[in-house]
């Protein structure tokens, strides 16, 4: 498939928009699941940028990085969801503002 119709700038722009959305989600949301999803969004924004640049430069390293990120993300999901379940069990809530045991 020919890939040159869409210019690299658009990919990077989309990636930036997705990343900022993810960041906003992490910073503004209080629901742990949603924060979690936002983190995934940030990761995938980075993935998109990596894939785009890899294609632009014809270098496979970016693709390889994408696979690493996906693997790490999968592991993160497993651990993160388990943590959220554990938090819910003790706090009966997944509002992260309820978790402020470390308040100084």
């Amino acid at each position: 498939m020919e890939a040159s119709e869409v210019s690299i700038e658009l990919y990077v722009l989309l990636s930036a928009i997705l990343f900022i959305m993810g960041t906003m989600g992490v910073l503004l949301r209080r629901n742990a699941i949603l924060i979690f999803m936002s983190v995934e969004l940030m990761l995938n924004a980075a993935n998109l940028a990596l894939a785009a640049f890899a294609r632009q430069w014809g270098n496979g390293d970016g693709h390889v990085m994408v696979f690493f990120v996906m693997t790490v993300a999968a592991a993160e999901v497993a651990v993160g969801l388990a943590l959220i379940v554990a938090i819910f069990r003790t706090k009966k809530s997944i509002d992260i503002d309820d978790l402020h045991l470390f308040r100084g």
Binding site: T23, V26, L27, L28, R30, I96, D97, L99, H100, L101, F102, R103, G104
Partner: protein, 762 residues
Amino acid sequence: MENFFDLVPLVVFVPLVGLLINLFTGKHLGERGVGIVAVGASGIAFLISLLLWLAQVDTGYKPVVVDLPLFSDWISIPADGVEIPWQFRVDTLSVTMMLVVTFVGTIIHLYAVGYMHGDERFPRFFVYMNLFLVFMLILVTGNNFLMMFVGWEGVGLCSYLLIGFWFDKPGGVGWKNSDAARKAFIVNRVGDFGLVLGVLITFWTFGTLDFYKPDELPVAAPHAAEAAEEPVFAPEIPHEAEPHIEGPMGVFNQAEVWLEEGGHDVNFGMFSLSFESTITVITLLFLLGATGKSAQIPLFVWLPDAMAGPTPVSALIHAATMVTAGVYMMVRSNVFYHASDAASFVVALIGATTAIVAGFIAVGQWDIKRVLAYSTISQLGFMVAAVGVGAYAAAMFHLVTHAFFKALLFLGSGSVIHGMEHGHHHMAHGGHDHDDEFDPQDMRYMGGLRHKMPRTYWTYLFGTLALAGIIPFAGFWSKDEILLDALKAGVDDARLEGYLAFVLLVMAAAFTAFYMWRQMALVFYGKPRHAAAEHAEESSNLMVYPLIVLAFFSLVIGVINVPSGFPILGAIFGEHEFTSWLEHAVTYAHAASFNVLLASFAVVLALVAIYVARAIYNDRALETLGQQDPLELDERTEGLFAVAKAKLYWDDAYFRYLIFPYRRAAYWLAEQLDWRFWHDYVHKTVVQKNFHIATEFLTQPVDKGIIDRGFNSLGRLMQIIAQRIRVIQTGYVRTYAWTVLLGTLLVVFIILFPVIRGMLGL
């Protein structure tokens, strides 16, 4: 045959292996196994000694020095010229001692297997006995004074361990036993102090402790013509050998050479002594050592108490071997003693006085073993006196014969005690009252054992006759030779100590015959005076056979040294065989020819003494014997007997004039010096008070004031700082996320800053 000499370390090592086996596996071997190992080790040592004897005969009696492989540099400080190798010396003197020690030792080990039967510490006993053999053999085989000293102390240790072997007997007996052990050890320390000093001075004087260097022959200096007076031995004596040997010499030959040259002073730093005086000092210090180990005046008091040990111990250590170590040491040092007239005088006087004093005390004793103990002291006095009058060969001869007949007497007394205990046991089971007063060693409870224990009786009779000096028993030959040599020293050399020793020794010999027959009468004749004696039984074969062997030797061993001119026997067994054998190792061994008058006088005297004893301890006296001796009942001898019974007040004098004052001084020092001054003043007042002041200073101003306050302030400072900055920790995750974002942006900005600056053209 010369290869046999290399076996000499085994004489020491075989008993060592035996004792190690018994030490580690004795509990599992059982009495039989332990006995086989112990007797076997001793027996093999005897066989090796026999081989060494044959090798000596085969090689013309040449003294041989054998290095111990891997251990020959025992003490070696080349920079200071100190060389004390671990070397074994095989010469006729050491082989004689080895043969006596291992042969009598083996017989006594065998006897002990029977005697110690059923003892709860059976293996330990034989471990100690073998250990004793190890040290005794080191003592006699060492080629230097330090090895001899190692053995000397080692046998002392074994003596201590074995005297106190029954330290846990009930009813205070155990305490008595361990007291006796300590007494022996402490009294011996006094003597050992003399020996150590003597050895040190020897080393200072000669720079070596070797008796002789390897390949060095003992030679008398040419002026010592009197030694060669007896032409009989001339061809065999190496007197013609070169007296001035090249290279370093052992102490004895060096002493000969220096005495010959004269004018050698020994520098002791603050003062110097002539060589002759140094030798006198050394020999007198050695004599002090000998008075400890060989139980002479003034240190003999430990030996009678040492009878607290099991009887085989008394026989082996305190009669036949260890106590003769002092005599061996002096004979080994005969060159020194020969050189010092003053020391010889003292030695002769001490020996002869001991002989008569101990013989006198023996008359007043009731304990069967104590009589023998004093007899041993008396006989050792004979040997020491012989050394004093210069009769070194006679001293060794008496040592050998005495080893046999005194071991026999002790083992016989052990058999008697065993029989008495058996009878007492039997009596207790027979429903009689078990009287706790009974002492199986007290001769007052005995009597009539001749019929109960016939074999013990006959062997004991042999021992008694040998000790009394009745021809042809062993004691006759050796005692006669000592008397003759003493008289000769008086008449021929005009030496006062010769006459003195002769008179005292003749009296001692009469006492010997008297107290031995008193013992025979009290133990074996008459009728049983106690139910235990009534029921006494002959001991087991294991105990009786050794008695028979020793009895045989007590009868015949004297023929090894038949005096010259003695009819018939001299032709059969050769004359002076033992003396000429010893002459290859003992420079001043010399022999005496037979004197019919003196021999007859001695024998008649002994017979008269026995006759007197028989008359006093007749059947009627024995039958009516209560707690008192017939001598005590007669008012003419009452006082003398009391003195003898009280051991001449010798122990009492030590207690009154040494031990009590010492204790009072010790108490006084403990009270005044230790408690009042040291504890109350120094500790309480000086040390404790100042300590308090110092610690008070350190705790209050230093610790509490400076250190504590400093760290507390530091802590408070930290708290204040922490209070201020804790507020930034909100605990909200989103706050942290913001921080991370801002931080990341900051980092990105810093990285990109040069690029931005470039783009803006700054």
